[in-house]
Symmetry: C2
Subunit: 491 residues, 2 copies
């Protein structure tokens, strides 16, 4: 169908009816999930066998037409055989925004599933129902505190996620916070039987709360419509697209999951080429790339400086950056001279990548290298790779040659504060010109469990994205640059 | 040079002389590193300015010839200008096994560095010195408790690592324990000025303590000799080779690091093809693949079953396995029927990958699927992917519908024990036929910090490799299979 603006109410519903609420404690008790999320509207559990009873403070109704208020959103979680009757009830109650959680339709592959799915389409068409699903988790809107997941701490933000997998949607929402990512609307839409990705795109294109659109797709109904829309929207709001099932095994899995037609790899290659949509291939890449888009101003070119420690690490790092599509140009003579004025030549490598080697003992030397490199006209972004395993050991010896294990905590704290302060200060001075990302590499060394994550949060709050591997950081940065190259924004 | 058996003493030296020990506390105090590692031989610190003084219980000598015992290993860490004189002292003292830690030779790129390196070669040839380095960390032999790293907990085992980067060698040794990897000999050999990778290969080929050889190389002096040796050794002992600097940026970094000639990508492609050496491209891949070789019997083919949770996860998982080079064949009718007898059809996908979806609440169902799948004649290995974020949530609700946060710890422990017991039991029953690996996926969910690592250790001790991403698990398994395919061992 085309986008029906009437569905907009479903994103901030005053009333939600849930059909198929069990009287027993149940894993998918959407009443409790909404309540735990802090939803403040009215909830109407529907169950013909429980009419008049009370569940978690909400009165059961026998059916939708009995509900005494207009219903902004219906969630259906009854067995598949009953779904057509529930939809007829929706039509009769004029409750037109419907999320069908129930699975067991065309994705199962049996005749009955197909038949039921056709009935869903027919009733929706006849009754004007705007249906999300079936076989999906539906809507998650932190600002309205609506969700179908339990225990999700809703964090609002400018990112929309349109996903044909409820699992991926839940995982992104759960992990988003650690990456500094908040959400405007998350839509898990399963079989895409009525509302499809293009419908949601049409809405999100003009949604003022959405600045960036991520998608997980298994198939698309109208390829040319989808391509044209993405090409258009992607100019204003970056569209990050993960297509699942591009291998033969994956394509077979798609058929069983949402019953979508997987589509040929070549078709999708052409899609990315024509639209400039950001290509990603895993959930972690969605997180990595989204963080880069949210936190980094676009670098002016692919020319990056890598600052790190260790000769072998520098070789590996150069390989990784090159494979990701970043350039590591030679620094200018002026920069090399400036660096050489305070970095000794032995055991270090003064070039790009910069290897401050054993000098890591002096963390100030590492940080002092930031300014001259940022001033180099050939460099447009910086990756600062901290090898966690090495730093604390070096510093420990410098500060406390014969220190017992007991003092380690202190030293790490001092080290940490020094690094944080310098990086945050550098970022504040250079934010408009040379974007910087931090990579926390290798084993956690002497850091206590959870301390790496604390560092990540602290730097993120200062506006610096933090990655736990150079692969992930360089790939995310390259995707950001490619996006702006496509739109001709780079020099 | 050709391999000189005289060097063997250096791997279990009764005496070590260290030239250039500072009287001040210093980051690279090899005396204290040896002592901390529990080395039980005699240590002779050498420093002409400190003759007769005592450092950490060891008497300083003015030079090597003054040392009253035969010296099995000399470690040189004096400034580069003094190295030729120290080597002459080695010759005079008949101390022929030498590790030159000092950097600043041909890798610096200046005329003086080149000249000094030529002097090293000349003295070594004339005096019959067997030199590791310069510009390297030298030898790490847990059984002899010799090491040049501080605070390394030496774990003995059948893995040798020959590395042109001391940083990579140190990182592998530090992280090896977590992957259940112990070492026979780790050799960081830097510029490879005298002893080269082929020398160490020649020794390790017949070393009874070494069953598996890992290498990090930046360049090779005699390509055809190296290729012939690896082809030969690789038949008996798997040779895992990481070549650094295969990109243009990486190749430039190699020149500054060890002054090696990087070599063309095509040459290395041919090397892997001719020798059947296991190709890896990062430190984490060395760890992943080594763990697979140590813990898994070779699967009989690429046909793998993926057991996991979530429809989107299954699509992503199928894509990941296919990209790694694994096949996910359709299960036989008998297996599907058996699985269908206890797994309900709605919200699950009974195929390969097996998606037990929301049924995850019943962890027993997940584990019960192991036996029928292992019995399927089309399946030769199993990847059991536990989505950590989902499991505890599901189980928590099932066991304690209204539990306060306080009881969570208990539930996780019960869940954990159930999983562990079943997996370990399954592995015991099937170890000889169908290898299994476990993947702990996604965010840690309700697990406490460090708990994932505990699970990993517990399963490893039962002989089951554990990975934290499906990418890494499937790639490692594919490398193991490729190795045995090359040697014609698969059906």
């Amino acid at each position: 169908m085309a986008w029906d603006p009437g569905f907009e109410t479903a994103f901030h519903p005053k009333t939600v009816a849930i059909v198929g609420v069990s009287r027993q404690p149940h894993f998918f008790d959407f009443v409790s999930h909404l309540q735990n999320a802090g939803y403040e509207g009215h909830i109407f559990p529907i169950n013909p066998k429980a009419d008049g009873e009370v569940h978690r403070g909400c009165r059961f109704y026998r059916d939708l037409v009995s509900v005494p208020e207009p219903i902004d959103l219906v969630i259906v979680s009854t067995p598949r055989e009953t779904v057509p009757a529930v939809l007829e009830d929706c039509v009769a109650a004029n409750a037109r925004n419907v999320h069908i959680f129930t699975a067991g339709f065309k994705e199962v592959g049996d005749a009955r599933g197909k038949e039921l799915e056709e009935q869903v389409v027919e009733i929706a068409r006849r009754g004007g129902l705007r249906i999300v699903g079936p076989n999906c988790m539906g809507l998650h809107v932190p600002a309205s505190r609506i969700t179908t997941w339990e225990d999700i701490d809703p964090q609002s933000g400018p990112v929309a996620f349109v996903s044909q997998s409820g699992g991926h949607a839940g995982a992104l929402v759960r992990d988003g916070g650690r990456f500094g990512i908040g959400f405007s609307k998350v839509i898990s839409f399963g079989n895409a039987t009525v509302l499809d990705s293009t419908d949601f795109l049409e809405y999100l294109a003009t949604d003022p709360e959405t600045r960036l659109i991520c998608m997980y797709l298994e198939g698309v109904k109208d390829g040319s419509k989808f391509t044209a829309m993405v090409r258009n929207i992607n100019k204003e709001k970056p569209v990050i697209v993960w297509k699942g099932g591009l291998t033969e095994s994956g394509s077979r899995a798609v058929a069983s999951h949402t019953g979508s037609l997987g589509g040929e790899r070549e078709v999708w290659d052409a899609f990315y080429k024509q639209t400039g949509a950001v290509r990603v291939g895993s959930l972690e890449e969605v997180l990595d790339v989204t963080m880069a888009f949210l936190y980094l101003r676009p670098p002016r070119s692919r020319s990056t400086a890598l600052i790190g420690a260790g000769g072998g690490n520098s070789v590996a790092g150069a390989d990784i950056c090159a494979r990701a599509g970043l350039d590591l140009p030679t620094l200018t003579e002026a920069t090399l001279t400036e660096l050489g004025s305070f970095i000794p030549p032995e055991g270090t490598i003064i070039r790009n990548p910069l290897d401050i080697g054993v000098v890591l003992m002096d963390i100030n030397m590492l940080l002092r290298s930031l300014d001259p490199i940022a001033a180099d006209p050939l460099i447009d972004s910086i990756i600062f790779a901290l090898p966690l395993g090495m730093v604390p050991r070096g510093l420990r010896d410098q500060l406390a040659p014969d220190s017992p294990m007991a003092v380690l905590g202190d030293v790490f704290q001092r080290l940490r504060q020094g690094i944080m302060d310098s990086l945050v200060g550098f970022h504040r001075d250079h934010v408009s010109r040379k974007p910087i990302v931090v990579v926390l590499q290798g084993s956690a060394g002497g850091f206590a469990p959870g301390q790496q994550e604390e560092i990540q949060q602290e730097l993120l709050q200062a506006g610096i994205p933090v990655y736990f591997s150079l692969e992930r950081a360089s790939r995310a940065m390259a995707r950001l640059i490619q996006y702006h190259e496509f739109h001709g924004a780079l020099r």
